[in-house]
Every structure is written in structure tokens, then in C-alpha cells.
């Protein structure tokens, strides 16, 4: 018992990143890692409610969903998907260089991730604006000329905005956290020995990315087979 506490005291004296209530750095890192995965589990359940609603209604109103889905802009969606996947690559590289203790490359790839995330949000804003112009936002001003099933077309767009909106809000939160991390990385707060926040944020960023990987086909690609894409 005495050996344990003296080891902890020894570590604490030398490692400024070790919080007082942990015995050693491994315990601290494992805790952060489990905590992040548990958090991602809660995120999975969070998005899960909207996915459930989507599956139920698509099962019930397939025709309306196909018609509504074909109103989305596949090209823009595909560009955005590419942008987001690239941002995951830059994020993975950022984690990699953090583990090597390469400060400049870490900052560079974090900024790249930030820029790609920003492009994604900008394109998303453009799409929302487009929907606004075409009266495709659910509510009083919703219009759908020539729709066979207007009310359920509107339901599709409710899900479209609910799901992409929740996703975008996660992107915005990620954007804010990235700004802080870039600042901290620039100040040299991370090292090859301790870069836990970078690694944990990487998990979050990849999760948000994966959610989009599911959203893109569900919202844009339901019935594009054999149709001209543009």
C-alpha cells in the first residue's frame, strides 16, 4: 500500500498532466479513453431516435420518400461527403503526428481539419438556403408542386432537417473544440507522452463523420439507380 502511494507521489511530481486523483498516467489515459467511448455510445443513442423515426416513416411512405429524396442535390451532397472524409484523414494525421511529438505538423493538420469542417458547414448552409428558396422547409411555407403525397414529402424534409441539423450542430461544437485544441497545440501543450485530448477529439470527429456516411445514402441516394445523377 505504501509503495502505491509513493509511486503516485513520484509520478505526480514529474508529470504536470497527471491529475492528483489518478495513480499513474496509464490509468488516466485509459479512463479518458473509456469515457470517450461511453460518450460516443450515448451519441449513438441520441442520433438513434431520429434514425428510428426515419426507418419507420420510410417503411410506411416509400413513394413519398423516394420523390422527396430525388429533390436533394446529389452532386453537392457527394462533394460534402468527400470533404468530410478528407477531414477525417487530416484528423487521423493530426493524431499520428501528435503521437510523434511533431508540433508544427500537428497544428497544420488540425487547421486543415478545421478548414475542411468549415467548408462542409458552408456547403450545408448553401444547401439549406437552396431549400429555403424552393420552399422545401417544413411548415407554413412548404410547397411541393406536383407531389403525389405532399404531407409525407414534407415529413421527409422534417427528417432531413432534423438529422442534418443535429449533425451540423455536432460539427459546430467540434469546430469550437478544434479552435481550442489548435491554440493549445500551438502553445506546445501536447507532447508524444501526453496528447490525450487530441486523440479523444479524433474519436469524436470520426464519429460525426461516420454519422454523415449513413445520412448521405439515406437522404440523397434512396432511388438514384438508373437515373441521371444530375
Amino acid at each position: 500500500m505504501s509503495s502505491h502511494s509513493s509511486v503516485a507521489a513520484h509520478d505526480a511530481a514529474h508529470d504536470p498532466n497527471l491529475k492528483h486523483h489518478f495513480e499513474n498516467a496509464d490509468q488516466q489515459k485509459e479512463s479518458a479513453s473509456i469515457g470517450m467511448w461511453v460518450f460516443l455510445l450515448t451519441e449513438l443513442m441520441f442520433f438513434g431516435g431520429l434514425f428510428l423515426a426515419y426507418f419507420v416513416y420510410r417503411q410506411w411512405y416509400p413513394e413519398a420518400f423516394i420523390a422527396a429524396s430525388n429533390k436533394t442535390d446529389v452532386l453537392v451532397g457527394a462533394i460534402n461527403t468527400t470533404v468530410l472524409i478528407c477531414s477525417s484523414l487530416t484528423m487521423a494525421l493530426a493524431v499520428h503526428y501528435a503521437s510523434k511529438g511533431r508540433r508544427e505538423l500537428l497544428v497544420l493538420f488540425l487547421i486543415a481539419t478545421l478548414l475542411l469542417g468549415g467548408i462542409f458547414l458552408g456547403v450545408k448552409g448553401y444547401e439549406y438556403h437552396d431549400k429555403w428558396v424552393h420552399h422545401e422547409i417544413p411548415g407554413e411555407h412548404f410547397e411541393c408542386h406536383g407531389c403525389a403525397d405532399e404531407v409525407h414529402t414534407q415529413l421527409f424534409f422534417s427528417l432531413y432537417f432534423g438529422m442534418t441539423g443535429l449533425h451540423a450542430s455536432h460539427m459546430i461544437i467540434g469546430f469550437g473544440v478544434l479552435l481550442v485544441l489548435i491554440w493549445q497545440a500551438w502553445k506546445g501543450q501536447f507532447s508524444a507522452k501526453w496528447y490525450t485530448p487530441i486523440e479523444m477529439f479524433g474519436l469524436y470527429w470520426h464519429f460525426v463523420d461516420i454519422v454523415w456516411i449513413f445520412l448521405f445514402p439515406l437522404l440523397y441516394l434512396i432511388d438514384r439507380v438508373g437515373r441521371p445523377l444530375l
Binding site: H4, F46, F47, L52, L155, F161, G162
Partner: protein, 541 residues
């Protein structure tokens, strides 16, 4: 032993380590955060209780002579929202769990102290939103927020109320996350999973429900707010949606939430039973795994809230059977507690009285739950006072009795002071009598067909309603007396000493109140849990 261990000079502990408001509001000590929760949760308990008093006052006469129907709707909604989201869900986990989990596993703190403090601020933000709703006119949908009443027809502050519950939910997610990581990674050397106190097992199971269930109510309320606030509809048929989907999503969280409220109480009862029977709990592993089983099966029974909501008869049958199954682990606990008392050295202290009361009342609540799981009978009593009585037996008779048992059991550890046992026993008896008088007549009323959520009723129901209201007054008194003797004990109570009850778990091996770092040296566990072979059994007056 009690007087002998009182030091001449007061030693440093978590309460006097630092002074000033700032040291409390910025604390990262799990014990101080528990105290912050204790104070704020108590305030919400009083608020929720006042609304209950209004309900019972109105129902003493058949006519609606005190509150009009609209106000009555707002009053019972406020009672439900405040009691569930701001009292019952955080009560035991955020107060006792927060205080005890690190102590019980020999850790210095929870894994994420800053997140722990954040959870309290998030809770207070949710609470503030709730108070704004109450102050500006309330909401009339019931705590269930059923659509399309909530999204289209209600004239109250639905979005703000939903936001309050949404925000409070994140505080419970953060608490659950912290507990899970703490139990996995922060246990003292030698403290294996099957040496964990049953309180820890119960909180682990509760945390699993918190992290898996709470996000679902969050997204459901998110959709509700979008529909009500922005007309981005999901549930109202006018927007092409289906209101029953809301009920599915709502109960997918809100039924497991019942277990968020009762499982921690069960953990408390296991501890209290063992200590005051001076005996290892009968069937330790069964009690431990029954907590996990409740967490798992609790997620599969939500459909029993939809027996009359156009759910198919086959789905109903499956949910009915699953509901019977989830009663099994609860029954295992009840039988094991009873078997623990058998041939134990039973000491009838105040916490023990509460624990015994819990077993009786929870059993009634659980068994009437089986009545409601039967589809045919449920159709007869749906939305009647039978349901109201059933869940109050579980929530008040179960969860709050467990909470009171826990507060009485760990008060000496938390404050370092003993309270008056006689007064505590008297108030426990008052709670027990008042509770039964309040809610037993409601079973009868419900079976006779009195619907819930109305402020008027036929004259023949008056006698039972007056009994119920009279019982509520006694119950209220029973909850008021502890406030007096607990406050009294802070100044005049005898110093408790480290282990006034002769308990065996780790939290009793440090001083009372514990030092900021919990233990002078990290304890190493070499014996099985609940080992009474060398325990001193003090006599408690």
C-alpha cells in the same frame, strides 16, 4: 466507541478544508459536489411537494372549488416534472452515489471531477429553466408531453419545459458516464468486481440505463421542440407524422427511467440490510446480477405503456410477458433481503426501519405492476388512480424510502454527527402510516373507475379522497421532522466516529467526515466484502 474517537482538535476534512462560497461553487471534490446536489435537490423536493399538497387540497371535495381545470392541469404537470426530472432521477445517484462511490472503491475521486461539477451546473441550468416556466405560467401537458397535445394544442410553455428536461438529462448522462469509468478504472488494489459493495453494483447498472436511455429522451424532446417551435413536424398527423411514435420513443427512456429511480434505492437497502443484520447479504451474486438484469430487461418493456395506444395485440403480448420477466430480478432482491434478516442480528435503527418499510411498500408497488402488465386488467385501470397508486408505491414507497434510509445511514459519515434516533424512528413511522393512508385508497378509487388528471369527481369518491388527503398531510409531516433533527444534529449532534454502525465497507474505514483525499493512504483490499468476522457491533441508542 462513539465518544472516544472524537479528537480534541478538529482535524481537516472535506467540509473545513477550504472556506467561502467560491470554494464550494468551483469545487472538484465529489463529496462537496454531492452536498451541492443535496441542497438543490432538496429545494426541488420541497417545490414538488408543495404542488402535491395543492393537488390533494383540491381533491378533498368533489367540486373544482380551489383550482380551475386549466390551473389543475398545470399543477399536476409541475408536480410530475419537478419530482421526476429534478428530484427522483438525481436524488440518490447524484447525492449518495457521488459521495460514496469513490469512497466505497477506495478512490480519491471520480474519474472526471470537472465533468462531475459540470453535471451540477447543467442540472442547475435545467432547473432554472424549469423555475422560469413555473414562474411565468406553467405548462399543462402532464410530465409525459404526449403529442399532438404538447406540440399543437397546449397553451403552456412546452418548448421551455422540454428544454428544461432536455438539459437536466445531460447532467444525468454526465453522472452515469463518470460512474461507469470510475467503477472500471478507479478501484483500489485488490478490490475485484465481486468484492464491490452492492450499492456500487446498483449504481453501475443505473449508470448503464442513464447513458443508453437518456440520449433517447433527449432526441425525442429535440424533435418535440422542433415540431412545436419551428413546425418541423415528426409526430402530428397534420405534418404526416404519427403520435404513437412519440409514445414509443418517450417510454423507451421513461420506463427504464423508473429503474434509474429505484435501482439506487435497492443498492442502499442492500447496504443497510447487511449492516444492521450484521451479516453478509444472502445471495450476494444474485443481488448483484439482478441489478444488471433489471437494467437489461428494463429496456424491453416500454410497450406496456401503449396497451391502449393502437399497438398490435401481438406486440402487447410480448411486452406483457417481458414485463412479468422484469419482475423476477426485483423479486430476487426482495427474497434475498428477507433471507438476510433471517437469523441475522437485526438492529432496529432508523435507517433499518426505513429499509424494512421499503421492502413492504416496494413489494406492493411491484405486485400491482404485475396487475398492470396483464393486458385485460390494464385496459380496465388505464389512466385511473390505480396506476397513480401503483407508481407512487414504487417511486415514493420505494425510491424515496430508500433515499431516506440512505440519508439516515450515511448522515454520520457525511456530516460527522449523529442525529436523534428516537425522532428518526417516529418520523419513519409517520411516513409509513401517512404514505399508506395517502395511496392505498387510490388503488380502490382507481379500481372503482376514478380517472387520473381531473380536478372534479363524483361525490361517492369523496370519503376515499379525504382519507388520501389526510394521509398526505401526515406524510408531509413525516418528511418535515427529519429536516429539523438533521439540522439540529449539525450543531448539537454527538460526534459520530469513523464507524458508528459497525459496517464493513470501505467508506467507514476513513474518518467522518472524510478528508478531501478520502483516504490517508490508498487502501489495499485483502478480504471479501461484508466480512463481519472481526467486526465490532456497537450498541446504538
Amino acid at each position: 466507541m462513539i465518544a472516544a474517537s472524537a479528537p480534541v482538535k478538529e482535524q481537516k476534512n472535506y467540509l473545513n478544508a477550504e472556506n467561502g462560497l467560491k470554494s464550494w461553487l468551483l469545487t472538484q471534490d465529489h463529496k462537496r459536489i454531492a452536498i451541492l446536489y443535496l441542497l438543490s435537490v432538496t429545494v426541488f423536493f420541497i417545490v414538488g411537494g408543495l404542488f402535491a399538497a395543492l393537488i390533494r387540497l383540491e381533491l378533498t371535495t368533489p367540486a373544482g372549488d380551489m383550482l380551475d381545470s386549466n390551473t389543475y392541469n398545470k399543477v399536476f404537470t409541475a408536480h410530475g416534472v419537478v419530482m421526476i426530472f429534478f428530484f427522483l432521477i438525481p436524488s440518490i445517484p447524484a447525492i449518495l452515489g457521488n459521495f460514496l462511490l469513490p469512497l466505497m472503491i477506495g478512490a480519491k475521486d471520480l474519474a472526471f471531477p470537472r465533468i462531475n461539477l459540470l453535471s451540477w451546473y447543467v442540472y442547475m441550468l435545467g432547473g432554472t429553466l424549469g423555475v422560469i416556466v413555473l414562474a411565468t405560467g406553467g405548462v399543462d401537458t402532464g410530465w409525459t408531453f404526449y403529442t399532438p397535445l404538447s406540440t399543437t394544442y397546449s397553451n403552456g410553455y412546452v418548448v421551455l419545459t422540454a428544454m428544461a428536461a432536455f438539459v437536466a438529462g445531460f447532467s444525468s448522462i454526465l453522472t452515469g458516464l463518470n460512474f461507469i469509468v470510475t467503477v472500471h478504472r478507479m478501484r483500489a488494489p485488490g478490490l475485484t468486481w465481486f468484492r464491490l459493495p452492492l450499492f456500487v453494483w446498483a449504481h453501475y447498472a443505473t449508470s448503464v440505463i442513464m447513458i443508453l436511455g437518456t440520449p433517447v429522451i433527449a432526441v425525442t424532446l429535440f424533435m418535440l421542440m422542433l415540431e412545436r417551435g419551428l413546425h418541423i413536424g415528426f409526430f402530428d398527423p397534420a405534418y404526416g407524422g404519427d403520435p404513437v411514435l412519440f409514445q414509443h420513443l418517450f417510454w423507451f427512456y421513461s420506463h427504464p427511467a423508473v429503474y434509474i429511480m429505484i435501482l439506487p434505492s435497492m443498492g442502499v437497502i442492500s447496504e443497510v440490510m447487511s449492516t444492521f443484520c450484521t451479516k453478509k447479504p444472502f445471495g450476494y451474486t444474485f443481488i448483484a446480477f439482478s441489478s444488471v438484469a433489471i437494467a437489461v430487461f428494463g429496456f424491453l418493456v416500454w410497450g406496456h405503456h401503449l396497451f391502449v395506444s393502437s399497438q398490435s395485440a401481438y406486440a402487447g403480448m410480448v411486452f406483457s410477458i417481458l414485463t412479468y420477466i422484469v419482475a423476477i430480478p426485483s423479486a430476487i432482491k426482495v427474497f434475498n433481503w428477507a433471507a438476510t434478516m433471517y437469523k441475522g442480528q437485526v438492529r432496529l435503527t432508523a435507517p433499518m426501519l426505513y429499509a424494512i418499510g421499503f421492502i413492504g411498500l416496494f413489494t406492493v408497488g411491484g405486485l400491482t405492476g404485475l396487475f398492470l402488465a396483464a393486458m385485460g386488467l390494464d385496459v380496465h385501470v388505464t389512466d385511473t388512480y390505480f396506476v397513480v397508486a401503483h407508481f407512487h408505491y414504487v417511486m415514493v414507497g420505494g425510491a424515496i424510502m430508500g433515499y431516506m434510509a440512505g440519508i439516515h445511514y450515511w448522515w454520520p459519515k457525511i456530516t460527522g454527527r449523529m442525529y436523534n434516533q428516537l425522532w428518526a424512528k417516529v418520523s419513519c413511522c409517520l411516513v409509513f402510516i401517512g404514505f399508506n393512508l395517502t395511496f392505498f385508497p387510490q388503488f380502490v378509487l382507481g379500481y372503482m373507475g376514478m380517472p387520473r388528471r381531473y380536478h372534479v369527481y363524483p361525490a361517492e369518491f369523496q370519503v376515499l379522497n379525504v382519507l388520501s388527503s389526510g394521509g398526505a398531510a401526515i406524510l408531509g409531516l413525516g418528511y418535515l421532522i427529519p429536516a429539523v433533527y438533521f439540522l439540529w444534529s449539525l450543531k448539537y449532534g454527538a460526534p459520530a466516529g469513523d464507524n458508528p454502525w459497525g459496517a464493513t465497507t470501505l467508506e467507514w474505514q476513513t474518518s467522518s467526515p472524510p478528508p478531501t483525499t478520502n483516504f490517508e493512504v490508498t487502501p489495499v483490499v485483502t478480504t471479501e466484502v461484508y466480512d463481519y468476522t472481526n467486526a465490532e457491533v456497537p450498541h446504538i441508542v
